[in-house]
Symmetry: C2
Subunit: 246 residues, 2 copies
């Protein structure tokens, strides 16, 4: 991991851009984090729109998390931002748009082609990032995962024992195969659902919540569309992490 | 309203039993409540099992609410406790038990006969209690309603303009007619659903949440059965009231 830039935000949060091999990423640490008082870490998931486009929302989540004492980090997803495109995923995205514009349901085949390669490629990258991040003296465990793509969060919760709690955003298509993986999840979960999310299948989200194997899981459904998560819902998610990571 | 007993609980909460005509009730006020600093009020709904049986859970909710600065009050439901039985409701309850023991679905007719008379009779009683409670100098507005029977909460939210926010517990049968009333609800709602509630139709609860007309409504689903609402879910409901009643 190489840090490529560093700036102190006005609230004292230290923002550092880094590269991990070919993968760009950003790390935010609260002013209080130090080798003698390492901060617990939350990995910030996000949709595959590119870090640059997602930056305003990410830095907002990072600032709120830092105010609660958490370090946060994120990496560019495969095929997004300046990373090489994944032709099969691009094709699936075009197929999805075509189906939606034609008012047709998005088929399981399209959803699989859109999501599964992203999960397969990105999860080992998140794990490599975790190796690097946890080697920094100012970052400690335990680790949380927060956000979308929900299938990435599911896979990480299953395969990565260092992740001990997750806030999942039920806002993207979920391949049928991920329902089986969801049954293997046992960590505490806090699932956010935007009830009127235009790009989301509400019933699939409810079925997925039902499938999770975790003994502690909560579904928080709020009104509004995909990006309309109310502030109080963000606060509740922060309280979930405070309960489980501190 | 006549106070019939008064005791100071160990945390300073003043517990007073009262009667309102034939109806027994209990009022809890935080130690800090006074004529110069009246406490906002939360009406504590409960299932029709009798105040005596419900007392341990009610006083627990009252203590938690008092710690947040809220007065709370509850009244005996018609047909419960020492109040005269409602023969038609008793008949419906027997029919419901018979259906459930036979593994049959509980018919809409049984649900209507069980719930609608309770709503029709109890809502004016809650309103009369509200008149009396709000005339006390140590009780101020605004007013919240919290708990079950959810159909009573729905009707109150529609007809009683002094109620400005409600935490509803989706844990009882809901007559079809109440879905129409739910569309007329416009106050902020926080709906609790126990995902594995043995006595509850989960899909009906989700449909009801969808039906509410409120612009701000949140569904909080947690694991466990009817009485297994986790402490953190109670805390979230308290925060909802603090946001809306203070």
């Amino acid at each position: 991991m190489h840090f490529t830039s560093e700036q102190r935000l006005d609230d004292g949060v230290l923002e550092r851009e880094f590269t991990l091999g070919e993968i760009p990423g950003i790390l935010w640490t609260p002013a209080s984090a130090s080798a003698s008082a390492p901060a617990p870490l939350i990995l910030l998931g996000h949709p595959p729109l590119g870090l640059r486009k997602m930056y305003p929302r990410l830095v907002d989540r990072a600032r709120h998390s830092a105010a609660e004492g958490f370090a946060t980090a994120t990496i560019e997803l495969p095929g997004s931002g300046d990373r090489p495109r994944l032709p099969a995923v691009e094709q699936a995205r075009a197929d999805m748009r075509r189906a939606m514009e034609a008012g047709e349901p998005v088929s399981d085949e399209i959803i699989d082609a859109l999501i599964l390669p992203l999960v397969d490629k990105s999860v080992p990258e998140w794990q490599a990032a975790l190796d690097a991040l946890l080697s920094l003296p100012e970052i400690g465990g335990p680790v949380g995962y927060s956000g979308g793509v929900i299938s990435i969060g599911i896979r990480l919760a299953v395969v990565e024992p260092r992740i001990s709690a997750a806030v999942l955003f039920a806002g993207s298509f979920v391949p049928r195969a991920m329902f089986e993986e969801a049954r293997q999840v046992t960590i505490p979960l806090h699932v956010l659902l935007q009830w009127d999310d235009e790009g989301n299948d509400r019933q699939a989200a409810l079925d997925l919540f039902d499938a999770f194997g975790s003994k502690e899981k909560s579904l928080h459904a709020n009104m509004g569309g995909h990006t309309g998560v109310p502030q109080f819902a963000g606060d509740a998610a922060a309280q979930f992490f405070t309960r489980h990571l501190k």
